[in-house]
Structures are given as structure tokens and as C-alpha cells.
Symmetry: C2
Subunit: 229 residues, 2 copies
Amino acid sequence: MGTGTRREPLNRERVLAAAVDLADSEGLRAVTMRRLAATLGVEAMSLYHHLPGKNALLDGLVENVVAEVGTAVAKIEGAGSPEQWQTILRSRFLAAREVMLRHPWAPALIGSRGSIPSGVYDYYETILATLIRAGFTYHLAHRALHAFGSMPLGFVQELFSPAPSGVQAASDEAMAELAQLAEELPHLIAMVSSEIHDADGDTLGWCDSQAEFEFTLDLLLDGLARHHD
Amino acid sequence: MGTGTRREPLNRERVLAAAVDLADSEGLRAVTMRRLAATLGVEAMSLYHHLPGKNALLDGLVENVVAEVGTAVAKIEGAGSPEQWQTILRSRFLAAREVMLRHPWAPALIGSRGSIPSGVYDYYETILATLIRAGFTYHLAHRALHAFGSMPLGFVQELFSPAPSGVQAASDEAMAELAQLAEELPHLIAMVSSEIHDADGDTLGWCDSQAEFEFTLDLLLDGLARHHD
DNA sequence: ACCTGAACACCGTTCAAGT
DNA sequence: ACCTGAACACCGTTCAAGT
């Protein structure tokens, strides 16, 4: 009687999936052993049968997101010629970014954990293979990986957009703060009003984080191409 | 009798200074209302007379570090001609980086807080002034600010160096992990061994984060120069 | 004005106990 | 094998009370 699935014993995957859902809907701060257990209709202590502790839970979250990036990126698979390394990497990084936009809590979490899940190494291996195949020296390829920073995973650590989502809210706050300091910040004010004026219609999104991401990415790719050729 | 200073009443500055010291020596996780109060020879609840709460304390920490960056960067003051914008920005960002290296906990904290202290706006105003003076359009200058990301504050969000310090420790761990996955990661292994071979003597620091920082910085500066000229 | 003690509502986690 | 209840050591924070 009943669905049956509700009585099925918990396992690591179901716990992690619930944790991802909880983080997506209520933020990472809501992901607490007790809260998470509650969403699974279970006591907090039951979770310890499937995960050693909170740290393992957070590592599992990172691992899950990285895996999601991995499958999204695998579809790109550089079918092109070696010379197309720029477009291959570009579309891979943009695919990764789409995953991150679905999990706004992930960048901060990934950055804050000490360990690096093995899926990241696999992913970096394919990036590196693309570069080497295109004729990069290992030295320049190494530099390139560092220069890309977190772009392979689809996010940038930017001061003015801590949360990849909520662009307009951040913009509103920023605008209000800026207005108060207008006299002392003439260039900033001029830039904001100039950019708003240019963005006809779409007033709210004067910081188009997607456009900024692509601009920075191309800046890096073009710069590397110049070092390479 | 005695020093007298010990009996002097607490104030916001002394609390924040103690918090910075505690974070520097034991990490941000050790900065707890109770622990912090203990280092000041006082009960936790006393802190609430000088700061509204934990959030205000963390905001104060960010504010302090940003102020430190501000004074470090003010010494650079672009005394050169407008055309020297690259070298001006370069030395400013490197000065900021030195501050961050003294406070390894700061990048993560700055990135995680929602608000942006006003000192950051002042600083960005001077960067913007330098770019505009050199003939940048507001649009390109805006793009540049986003592209720089967190470099004006002296740090990058990089996957392979979450903590700006502890380079060799991270390297050791990474090496151990890499060794286990050697067969599946031929390019990564080849890159690491190639780079270690090139770094004569200084085996541990095969990832020279200072060099990587400067390489990425120059990549961005050169790329912007090409867009500008 | 500045500091304190006890208390409250939350954490993660251990351990012995249930079925 | 899987889940639970009570307990412990920590949090941040409120409030009434001390001087």
C-alpha cells in the first residue's frame, strides 16, 4: 500500500540530491543536518549512516555539481580541428556556466573547500589535451590554466556580482549607495549613467554578467593566442 | 597602578583589531564572539556594546582590510603620464596583493559578504579615473573593471590555490592525488613533471602563484590595450 | 556607560539503545 | 542494517541585572 518509494531506505545519492535541492531553493545556509533530515522525513542522526558528517556532505555537494558540469561539457567534445581550440574551450566554459547559474551557491562552496574532487582533474585533463593538441607548450598551457581561474567551471570571482543571480537587486542596492556618494565618485557615476543610456530598454541589466563573462573569456583566449602564435 | 591600558574601556577599533589578529593567527573560523571576547579578557556579551552583532563584526573585518589596501594603494598614486595606465594599475594591483597575502582569510570573506564597503567605491573611482584619463570609453572601462575581477584587491579565485598561502602543502596533496590517477591524466602528469624540471632548485613551488598572478594581470592589461588602441 | 550571568534557540556530533 | 532519543560541547543572541 502507498507509493513504496517513501519507505525505501535512504542512501548517499538520495541524501545528496535532497541537499542540492535544498541549497537551490533556500540557499546553502539552510543546508543543515537537522533541516536536511527533516526534508527527508528522518532524524538528523540517520544521515550519519550514509555520510560521515557535514564536511562529507559539503564535499558531496561539490562533487555533484562538478559531475553535472562534466556531463554538460562532455557533449561539446572537441570534434573540430586542433586550430579551433579557442572555440572549443569557449563553448565548454559557457556550458559550465549554465550549470553554475542553476546552482548559485556552488561557486562560493567550491572556492571555500580545501579539497578538489577528482572530476575536476578529468575535466582539466581534457582542457589541457585541447591546448597541447593545438601546439601549446606545457609551460604556456600551465599559465593558461591559471589565467582561466574558475572560468572552466563557469564562474568568476567578481566583486560587483557576488551572487551570479539577483542581478537587478544588486544593481538597485549599488545604485542607491552610489547616489549618496555621487560627488566623490564622478567617474563611477558617469560610467553608470553612460552604460544605462546605451542599454536601450533593458534598463535594469546595465551589468550583463553573461556579456562580461564572455568578454573576459575572449580577452584571455585572444591574449593566449598571441602568446602562442 | 599597572599599565592602565588594560583597564581602558573597549571600543570598536580595538575589537576589530583583535579580530584581525585572531583571524591572521588562527583563521577566520576561530573568530567567534566568545573566543574573540576571551582574547580581550572580557565576556562575549560585552562585544555587543561596540558592535551590533556578528555580521557587523565581519563587515568591520572587510572594511579594515579594504582600508589597508586603500592606504597601500594610495602610495602608488599615478604620478606618470596618462599613457602609463598599464604600469600604474599593475603596481596598484600588486600592492593590493601584498596586503591580501598578509590576510589569507580576506578573499573568501570579501567574496562571501553581500555588501560592498564604501572604501571599495573610492578605490574603483581612482582606477576608473586612470582608465578614462588614458582615453578609454566608459563602455570599455566598464568591461575592464569586470574583467579585472578581484585583481584590484589583489586576489584571484583560482581552483588550484584556494588559500593564497600554503602553496607547498597544496602542491604535495595535489601531487599525491595526481599520482594515483596517473594513467588517466597523461597530459596533467606531463605538464607537472615538465614544469618541475624547468624550475631548477625550487622544486616545491612549481606553481608560483605570484608569477601566475602577474601573468594573468598582464594578459588582461595587454588585451585591454589592444581593444583601446 | 560599560560589563555580566543566566537563558534561549540553534548547531554538529557521540553513544547507547531500539527494531 | 537502519533509525532514534538523549546528551554534550559549541554557536549567536536577548534580557534583566549588576557597578
